[in-house]
Structure formats: structure tokens, C-alpha cells
Amino acid sequence: MVNLLANVGVWWLEILQRVGRGFLFFIQILTGLPALLMRPGLLIKELYSVGVLSLTIILVSGLFVGMVLGLQFFMTLSRFGAESALSVTVNLTLLRELGPVVTALLFAGRAGSALTAEIGLMKTTEQLSGMEMMAVDPVHRVIAPRFLASVIAMPLLAVLFSVVGILSAWFIGAGLLGVDSGSFWAQMQTSVDWYNDAMNGIYKSIVFGIVVAWIAVFEGYDTIPTSEGVGRATTRTVVNGSLAVLALDFILTSLMFGGI
């Protein structure tokens, strides 16, 4: 019994320690950001590998999610003779929720896991220590550009996801199921509020970008330097990143759109 209590205590202490290290690490990253302005090349390279290389999965997912939304909403709405509301429901769902959230989940799986594995492997093979001994701070040189690139890429990808989703819902609704195309766009203009809906969605994905990127680079940097350690860190990035996104989404939604 005493043993059990002691174990639980140790477990909690370890978690607290990790969280503490995580916050210190976050501050270290932030101090590394200004120097990046002097070396845009580093950032552009990471924007490519984090952002451009994630385009395929984001666009294809946006396409299918939009088509499914178009179909499902049409079927439900048409039961009440409200097919004309298709535009509003699809647009709001994508801009407020699915765009930012699904993008963040896909991003954690595609780019986040790759970041963790890359950084973790660099640590395991002593490349990070090697940099330190060359008087190059790996947090500034390796971590900060990857972090910032992720934070920039996330909202852009989310916007693309929503745009592709809306277009493919329009294709299903107006193109195949007979909803009036003109009213689809007209409704979008009248009922989607630029600030309330679109911008709030973008704020959400900026927050998701910060959190997912932070988890990914921290897990990589804090890896136990073994092959198993890297594997576990990668898994943790995807699991913790996704859970954090979903939990934060609830909090942000209730703050932004009220209701609670």
C-alpha cells in the first residue's frame, strides 16, 4: 500500500517535472525566434518540409470530408425540405470546426510525428550535442525554425482544407443533388460572418499550431536516446497532440461562440 502511494507520488512528480521542462523549453524557443528574422532561409526550408509536404493529405482529406458533409447534410436537411440551408451548415461546420480541428489532427500525424522522430534521432546520434560543442544552440538553430514553420503552416493549411471542403460540398450539392448554385453562394455571403466565423476558425488553428508544434518538438528534444525512446516519443506526439487539440477545441469553442 505504502509502495503504491510512493509509486503514484513518483509518477506525479515525473509528470510535473516534464511539464516544467516543457514550459522552460517553450521560453527557450521563444528567445530563439527573433534571430530567425536574420536567417529566413532556415524558416523557408522548414516551411517546405512541414507545410508543402503536408499539402497532399490536407487537400485530399478536405475533398472527401467536404463531399461527405455535402451528402449527409443534404440527406438530413431534405427530410425537412430545408435543402437550401446546405450552404450555411456546410460552411459553418467547416470554417468553425472541421477545418481547424481535422487539419490539426492530420498535421499532428503527418508533420508532428516526423518532427519528433527527426529531432529525437538527431539527439540519439549526438548531433545535437555536436552542435552545442560547435557553439551552435540547437534550440535556436534546429527547434525554433521548425516550431515557427509549423505555427505559420497550420492556419494556412486549415484555410485550404476549408476552401477545398466547401468547394467539394458545393459540387455534391449543386452539381449532383440539384441545390441551386446561385443561392449556395448567396447564402454563404449573407450568413457566414467574416469575423465571427472565418477569423475565429483561424485563431483556433493558430492556437492548435502552437500547441501541436510545441508538443512535437518537445517530445523530440526530450526523447530518451534509444530507438525505443524515439518510437515512444513519436507515438506520444500523435496521441497527446490530438487529445490536446480536441480538448482545446472545446474550450475555444465555448469561449468564442458562447453557449456555456
Binding site: E126, Q127, S129, E132, M134
Partner: protein, 266 residues
């Protein structure tokens, strides 16, 4: 004689295991000092303490008059610019070519134009006999070649102090003698302080000015190579001649094997 590195009563542990237990050591400026000792005694740890990659739990490590543990972030990185370190694993950046690896510290800390950079890198690679590998990737190199590239990189900034962690492992006899000559030349011609960890007794004794043998978290014997060879300590003789039996244990400390195998002493 001026001292470049001073360990004063340094304590350091990994988990439960005490690696250094009141370590005292002085490395003179401009000389080649060798550290020898059984595998796993903490030679690599010692170099990492000097570079500030690890911090002592107790005691101080002074490098060039500065206490490494007490330096702030920027001062520590400034100090590191005057150090080169050859890692036991090489620690090359695997996503960059050999050229980019050697050029890395130069790019980060100098503003040399590209052609000059190329010349400098070629010279450093020439010194380790690998100018022909300049455009290869680290994954295409053999173990010994990778370590020579790492050596070229560690001398790229012309540091005041170079730490070599086992510079001779995995080298063929010809390359080995080239590297031995290179280390000697760097030390003689440029007055660099060298600190070398090595198991190759003959090579080490041939270029070192001073040797320290460490074991059990302390320096056991120190002296010039001649003094060591004439030492009448049985331990030192066993170590230098590589005899398996004697006072120095070959095994990492643990319970006797008989206990593990379940044999009872009667």
C-alpha cells in the same frame, strides 16, 4: 606552467551510479594530455563536463580560467567557440554532405565568402586525407572515414583546445599514423592544448606529454609517458600491457557470475 583545464573535487553521478568521486585533474596549456582508463570509467563524461554538456553535482571545472558550470548561456557558447571536440560517435549531421559538415562551424561563426570557405574546407579535409570525399553524404562513409571527417570538422575553427574522444579507433595503420602526426602537428605548430582519450597505448604514449589513468571516479596515476612505463605499480603495468589478469578488473562491477548462474559456494 599555465593550466588550461582544472577539475577541482568534481562529483558526478548517472542515476545511482557515482561516476566521479572527488575528481582532481589539471591539463596544462599548449601540451598534449592523454586520459586513459578502463571502458566505462567516465572518460567521455569527463570531456562532456569540460564542454559544459554536463554539469558537475559538486566541485568545479575551470576552462581557461572560467568556471564552466557558472557561465551564462552566451558566455558558455563563446567559450565553446574556442573548443573543438571529436565525439566518440563522430556526431556528423547526417542530412548534410561532408562539405557542409566541415563548413558548418565556419558558416555559423564567420562570414567568409563561399570560395574561401570551399578552400578552407578542402584544406581541413586534405589534412585527414579525405578531400576526395568532399561531396559524399555521411551515410556513404565508412566508420573510420566518418571519424576523420568529424576530426576535420572539430579543427575547422582553429580552436585553442581540442578534445579527441578515441581518435584512433577504426583506423587502418596508415591512416592512424597520419592522424597521429596531425594531432602532433596541431599541437606543436599551433600551440593548441590537446586532450585525448584513447585506448591505443602505444600511439597515446608516443604523442602525449602527460598521461592520466582514471579508474573508479578518480585519477589513479599521472605522469609523463616515461614515468608511467617505469611505474612499479602492478595496476599500471597491467593496464599498459593489456594483461587480462591482475589488480584491475575487466568486468563492469556486478555480483560474481556464480551468483547469477545460481551456483552456491559450499
Amino acid at each position: 606552467m599555465e593550466e588550461y583545464i582544472v577539475f577541482d573535487d568534481v562529483h558526478f553521478s548517472r542515476g545511482q551510479r557515482k561516476i566521479f568521486n572527488g575528481m582532481n585533474l589539471a591539463v596544462p596549456k599548449g601540451k598534449t594530455t592523454a586520459i586513459m582508463g578502463p571502458s566505462g570509467t567516465g572518460k567521455t563524461t569527463l570531456l562532456k563536463l569540460i564542454g559544459g554538456l554536463l554539469m558537475p553535482e559538486q566541485g568545479t571545472v575551470h576552462v581557461d580560467g572560467k568556471s564552466v558550470g557558472q557561465l551564462g548561456h552566451d558566455d558558455l557558447f563563446t567559450l565553446r567557440k574556442s573548443m573543438g571536440m571529436l565525439f566518440q560517435s563522430g556526431a556528423l549531421l547526417t542530412d548534410e554532405s561532408v562539405y557542409e559538415n566541415v563548413a558548418y562551424p565556419l558558416r555559423e561563426h564567420t562570414k567568409l565568402p563561399e570560395p574561401m570557405l570551399r578552400d578552407l574546407v578542402s584544406m581541413k579535409l586534405e589534412a585527414v586525407g579525405l578531400r576526395g570525399a568532399i561531396d559524399m553524404m555521411p551515410s556513404e562513409l565508412s566508420g573510420g572515414m566518418a571519424r576523420r571527417v568529424a576530426l576535420a570538422r572539430s579543427i575547422a575553427l582553429d580552436p585553442d583546445l581540442i578534445m579527441y574522444d578515441e581518435p584512433f579507433t577504426g583506423l587502418d595503420p596508415i591512416t592512424m599514423s597520419t592522424v597521429v602526426t596531425l594531432i602532433k602537428k596541431l599541437n606543436d605548430a599551433l600551440g593548441i592544448t590537446s586532450l585525448m582519450v584513447s585506448h591505443d597505448v602505444a600511439e597515446t604514449l608516443s604523442i602525449a606529454d602527460y598521461c592520466h589513468i582514471i579508474s573508479d571516479g578518480k585519477v589513479v596515476v599521472s605522469g609523463t609517458p616515461d614515468e608511467l612505463q617505469q611505474s612499479d605499480s602492478e595496476w599500471v603495468q597491467q593496464f599498459l600491457q593489456g594483461r587480462p589478469d591482475g589488480p584491475a578488473p575487466f568486468h563492469y562491477p556486478t555480483a560474481p557470475i556464480a551468483e547469477d548462474l545460481g551456483v552456491k559456494h559450499g
